[in-house]
Amino acid sequence: MEQILATTLRSAAPLVLVAMAGVFAFRAGIFHLGLEGLMIAGAFATVAVGDTTGSVELGVLAAIGVCLLLSALYWWVIGPLGANVIIAGLGLTSIGLGGTAYALGAIFDVRGSLFTDVVLPRPVRNITEGAGVIVAEHSIFVWITPLIVLAAWVVLRRSRFGLRLAAVGEYPFAARSAGVNPSMVRLQAILIAGALCALGGAELSVGALRNFTENMTNGRGFIAFVAVIFGAWHPIGAAFAGLFFGFAEAIGIQSQINITERVPREFVLMIPFVLTIFAVWLGGLWRRRSLEAEAGYAELREPDF
């Protein structure tokens, strides 16, 4: 049981970090399906630069830099250039997945996995028994994730930027009347999202593990996005949804070890995706209560050709 809870925290941390990215994007009115691509780009940049320089800090900084750059491009394409948000987002995901796998071969001349010695610091270690196991061996990012969630909440609820973001996401015309440039506010939100995805990716590669593997995000960016909808695009709600999906993943991992004989592994791996459909369905029901929200939401995903 302790082991499952510990695995839950470890699996949930990247999901929650990326879900916070999704919250910022969603609040700005952007249906951000590029989270997966940013996350894997962050994971790769951390390992690539971290391993080359031997410094995990430089790796994380590089990851943030790469994700900020990609996010700025994403903003440029969907904002000033008017590309479709969903298609460009999926394109960004493919650029991330394909680009990292390509770079793995082109730069490091390996296929599959790149192992590294650099690892994020782990504040609490060497507890092997009792309830302490739950909190032991987690990277520093797992510890700061709750702080980031709280910070996101405060920024969205209390800061000038958060209120502007809400205005831009809900009714850009009103925001413009009030002298706010929606495009610039969206850029800021997308950049924040990019940096958070970099942290999520770094946690995945050098926090929980010590390697980068092709396609290692394995749909987590999408699951984090669903956590945003499940959590009603509230940071706390999205964080709990992320925790829940982390729990589902932990059960999956545990039963791979224990009950593989009885339940085929693939069915256990399906759990997060099935839950996700259920969550989107529930989230949709919840959303429909507010007609206004629905109108705003429809605008986001309207195919515009």
Binding site: Y74, G82, A83, S94, L97, I229, F273, W281
Partner: protein, 347 residues
């Protein structure tokens, strides 16, 4: 220029730009763009069997992309073609392995129908959630895709695994040779006629039938369509069903054509590439045919490239991503007009 022609030219420009950016990335990371380019030409057109291989890869892309076009017409993003394709292939495989002694024609017919039915079911569930509850279909079709990939993995590693198989990756048994519509090349007159027939049929349905027209109306403005007395839900379900049937059919054609057996995670990119194909084809049936042949050629080329260069194959995923990232960028005049419209309606 007519607006249709201008859109076509603009799309070609965007695709070329995506290629140039990708070429620049390859150049910077030390590959000779000239070698890669001549490798692509050889692998797609000039080398022995290259053009056949291009057509072979264009076929599943075309069928799935036509499904995407149908979905878009009615205003839906069916991006779960991958899962529908897998489920179609699995169903056809189950029928073909379960009824080995059956008359070939009948087995292929049943297998194909089963494949289309599986595709329909796999897309109709998210479709039903969409029209009944307003559940966002972008995410649900995507999740159904992940689930479909796991079902394929389960079947090829478990119940349908080839017991004699020794390879690292799980693969099913081969279907009897009598059931195959093509040789290993994946192209034969039967398959070409089938695909051409289906393409014309989809065009007829979209452009010449009442169902196609109502679908377009629903896609343009669902509220308006509802006021005109169109049963929006039924039309939406029809669009999802047709879309899934086409992806399922692609799975059957893959099995009875080039594959003959199923391997875990085969053609992993085909579903997403089909979305790109449909967009590059301007969501128009004939445009999609051209785009499918183009991207089919690219797929054939990337499989050929390792022979002439040491380019890592994921470069193709990068390229597809780049095209998707850029291809929906609007022409400047369109952008300005749309901005003016938004201002006007918001005001």
């Amino acid at each position: 220029m007519t607006s249709g022609l201008r859109r076509a030219v603009w799309t070609v420009v965007l695709v070329v730009v995506s290629f140039l950016i990708t070429a620049l990335i390859l150049r910077v990371s030390g590959y000779s763009v000239g070698d890669v380019f001549s490798g692509i030409i050889q692998g797609a057109i000039t080398a022995t069997g290259a053009s056949t291989s291009s057509i072979r890869w264009a076929i599943p892309l075309l069928l799935i992309a036509l499904g995407v076009v149908v979905g878009f017409r009615a205003g839906f993003f069916n991006i779960g073609g991958q899962g529908q394709f897998y489920m179609g292939a699995c169903s056809a495989l189950a029928i073909s392995l379960g009824w080995r002694e059956g008359p070939a024609g009948l087995v292929i017919l049943c297998g194909t129908l089963a494949a289309m039915l599986a595709g329909v079911l796999w897309s109709l569930f998210p479709g039903w959630l969409r029209v009944r509850f307003g559940t966002d279909e972008v995410l649900t079709t995507l999740m159904m895709s992940f689930i479909g990939a796991l079902v394929l993995q389960y079947l090829t590693a478990g119940p349908m695994r080839n017991p004699q198989g020794t390879g690292q990756t799980a693969a099913s048994e081969r279907i009897p040779e009598a059931f195959r519509l093509t040789g290993g090349s994946g192209v034969s007159l039967t398959v070409l006629l089938l695909v051409a027939g289906v393409t014309v049929l989809v065009w007829l349905v979209l452009e010449r039938t009442r169902f196609g027209l109502t679908m377009t109306l629903v896609g343009r403005n669902a509220t308006m369509a509802r006021w005109q007395g169109i049963n929006v839900r039924r039309v939406g379900l029809g669009a999802f069903a047709l879309s899934g049937a086409l992806a399922g059919l692609a799975g059957a054609v893959e099995l009875y054509g080039p594959a003959a057996r199923l391997v875990t995670g085969f053609s992993p990119e085909v579903g997403f590439t089909a979305v790109v194909v449909a967009l590059v084809g301007l969501l128009n049936v004939w445009g999609t045919v051209v785009a499918a042949i183009f991207f089919g050629g690219l797929q054939a080329a990337i499989l050929f490239l390792p022979i002439v260069t040491d380019l890592p194959p994921p470069a193709l995923v990068l390229l597809h991503g780049m095209v998707a990232f850029l291809v929906t960028i609007k022409f400047r005049a369109v952008r300005r007009r749309r901005a003016a419209q938004t201002e006007a309606t918001a005001g």
